[in-house]
């Protein structure tokens, strides 16, 4: 132990670290400063958690459209505690937005922004912008549907302002939203914004120490106490409670990951993260040429008022009821944000969970077990095992390959006897999409399994269910609402007996009795 002290003494003689530590920890805190003043420390703790979880995520994350999604899945599914790691970072972002707003409201409520702390306030507002910048750039990174479409909308919003095309081009990095966009948003998220964050946090803390803590509205009698351990205890307890809440969230809930980004998907309805929902909702009230009012003017005005607040409200009185303009202004802005967020939330459509298996992928899993596939797609075989296949080809290629395997390398090897029909090909493609997003294979009742296989083999070439299948015949997703089993059975058996003009082929001779019963019951049940 004595040796350690000698080493510390030597270090202190060369660096003066003990003086520095004393200066940091023994800040005199005026009497009466209580729990109101823990908000900044809680925010600092959350930013620290975000920083270190971000560093560990960066050990695995790959900023390229081909690999980003797979690398996130790897983090969540293969790393010990990887799911909690990503959830900490994901929910941590929301916690930080909430903590930053609470901290700001505390500063406004106690008038802490007033002279001489104007610059401290401005550095805080800039910090809030950096935090929102992190949130915005962070959600492109997983390269899932939400990431892709929300970013498309963000870039188009940027287009509506002055120098719009220039800024949109800057954000996009290339002619389309793609690898160049992802790389520059990644660079911003892990290099530029952290540098700005650390710079502004240091400036904010330096200014806070320079002017001292603003303290309670009326001085409380009593001698000041050192920050450590008296106020540090309150900070630590509050920080621990928030951290406990965060880790509970991260353990209980899984950070969402949509299906992989698909620029051709016309059905996806993008919605921003909750903290941008108010801006999203605001946009709806200013259609067409008025759009810049919602995207630029109103947010710009709010930001301008925030930045200039200490200069607009210069009176010395810090009591909030003596500053009716500021108090009511914040109440109006706050209430508007809450109401707009609520309206935006109510308007969010429930979109199909990509991890839920429809009939096509269930059938595809069965078809892919076929010897015609397993002949090449095995460990040590000429092609990757199907479960290890990363679906990188476009759907048309895949369907063509399944229908005619020889087309990938005519003459190179003996093709398997006979291809599959288009419905089976679509089923396998759909199955591979589920494999790609890591959706666990569901266990479905025997009847549904049989119906799925019938649908994949005989129906999917022409009909669609839940957005998957062919578009020649009608969509069967809700067919049960139009027809019951008593109508469906004769129709599938012999369509032209029901309607002489029917163009659908008859399946009475093709399907076994069991298969017919299964598909009829399944379709009648789809309402």
């Amino acid at each position: 132990m004595a040796r350690w002290y000698a080493l510390f003494d030597w270090l202190d003689s060369r660096t003066g670290w003990r003086t520095g530590r004393r200066h940091l920890l023994e800040e005199p805190i005026p009497a009466g400063v209580g729990w109101w003043f823990v908000t900044g420390s809680v925010l600092l703790m959350l930013l620290g958690v975000q920083l270190i979880t971000g560093v560990v995520l960066a050990m695995y994350y790959v900023p390229s459209p081909e690999h980003a999604y797979d690398s996130i899945r790897y983090i969540m599914e293969r790393l010990t505690f990887g799911r909690i790691l990503r959830s900490l970072h994901f929910f941590g972002a929301s916690f930080i937005v909430v903590a930053a707003v609470i901290h700001m409201l505390r500063v406004v409520a106690l008038g802490s922004y007033k002279k001489p702390r104007e610059v401290t306030w401005i550095s805080g507002v800039l910090l809030l912008l950096v935090i929102l910048g992190f949130a915005l750039s962070g959600y492109l990174l997983p390269w899932d549907q939400k990431a892709y479409w929300a970013t498309t909308v963000t870039i188009n919003i940027a287009r509506s302002g002055p120098l719009g095309e220039f800024i949109a081009g800057l954000l996009k990095g290339g002619s389309t939203l793609g690898s160049l966009t992802l790389l520059r948003w990644y660079a911003a998220h892990v290099f530029l914004l952290p540098a700005a964050l650390i710079g502004f946090v240091l400036a904010h803390l330096f200014l806070m120490r320079r002017h001292g803590i603003s303290g309670m509205l009326r001085p409380v009698p009593g001698a000041p106490k050192p920050f450590y351990p008296y106020h540090a205890l309150k900070d630590t307890i509050a920080g621990a409670l928030v951290f406990a809440l965060l880790i509970t969230f991260a353990t209980m809930f899984r950070a969402p990951l949509d299906a992989m980004a698909d620029p051709s998907d016309a059905n996806y309805v993008p919605r921003p993260e909750w903290y941008f929902l108010s801006l999203f909702q605001l946009l709806k009230y200013f259609p067409g040429p008025l759009e810049p009012v919602a995207t630029m003017v109103i947010p710009g005005l709010v930001l301008g008022v925030l930045l200039l607040l200490p200069f607009l409200d210069r009176g010395p009185d810090r009591r909030f009821y003596k500053r009716p303009l500021v108090t009511s202004g914040f109440a109006v802005i706050g209430l508007s944000i809450i109401v707009l967020t609520y309206l935006g939330y109510k308007d969010t459509p429930a979109h199909a969970n990509p991890a839920v298996w429809g009939p096509l992928p269930i059938a595809g899993a069965e078809f892919a077990n076929d010897m015609r596939c397993q002949r090449c797609h095995v460990v040590g075989g000429v092609a990757n095992p199907i479960v290890a296949t990363r679906l990188t080809r476009e759907p048309a290629w895949l369907v063509a390959h399944v229908r005619d395997p020889e087309m990938i390398g005519p003459g190179l090897r003996e093709p398997p006897p006979g291809g599959m029909n288009e419905g089976q090909a679509r089923s396998i493609a759909s199955y591979l999409r589920k494999v790609r997003i890591g959706a666990p294979v569901p266990s479905v009742p025997e009847a549904e399994h049989r119906a799925s296989i019938v649908f994949g083999r005989y129906c999917a070439s022409c009909h669609m269910i839940d957005g998957e299948g062919g578009a020649v015949g009608p969509d069967l997703s809700r067919v049960g609402a139009r027809h019951d089993a008593a109508w469906l059975k004769p129709w599938i058996t012999q369509p032209d007996a029901v309607d002489p003009a029917a163009s659908m082929p008859a399946f009475g001779e093709v399907l076994s009795e069991q298969e017919m019963a299964a598909i009829v019951a399944y379709l009648a049940d789809r309402r």
């Binding site: 560990v56 790393l79 790691l85 450590y228 540090a232 630590t236 460990v379």
Partner: protein, 155 residues
């Protein structure tokens, strides 16, 4: 300042440190698990068909290249691994061609009837035993089994 103040201060400081250690410890477990787990995960092993027994010459290492799809972090890569199959009567051994000295790949020299490492001159006999040079151990052997004249190697 009362006489109890230093005690109080020390007590508070201890609580602060304990809580901070608890937060740090929890984070440490999550981060440590995430950082360390891939380093200590085991590789999957597969039996791959390598050659037919009847087609192999006796007592002469024959290089066979095996194709294997292997996980590499978040992606799958196609790995090609060469093994030397040596038939000795009815038995077959599979030698990993990685020199036990510093990891170069050895070559079969049929005239000298030895496996030679091109890097530092390590020499092994046809069964992978060290004959001369720096290698500290014989060439590693891979498990083999024979199924209907088909030789399977465990990779």
């Amino acid at each position: 300042m009362s006489t109890r103040d230093p005690d109080r201060r020390q007590f508070f400081a201890r609580i602060v440190k304990t809580i901070q250690a608890a937060i740090g410890g929890t984070l440490g477990v999550v981060l440590g698990g995430s950082i360390l787990s891939p380093s200590f995960s085991s590789r999957e092993e597969h039996w791959l068909p390598a050659a037919s027994l009847s087609g192999l010459p006796d007592n002469a290492p024959t290089p066979i290249t095996l194709r294997i799809v292997r996980e590499d972090g978040y992606s799958q890569i196609v790995d090609h691994r060469t093994v030397f199959l040596v038939k000795t009567g009815a038995e077959v051994i599979a030698l990993d061609p990685t020199c036990t000295h510093l990891g170069c790949r050895v070559r079969w020299e049929s005239e000298a009837h030895v496996l030679r490492c091109p890097c530092h001159g390590g020499v092994y006999d046809h069964l992978g035993n060290v004959k001369s040079g720096p290698p500290p151990a014989p060439l590693p052997r891979l498990a083999t089994k024979i199924d209907n004249d088909q030789i399977l190697v465990q990779i």
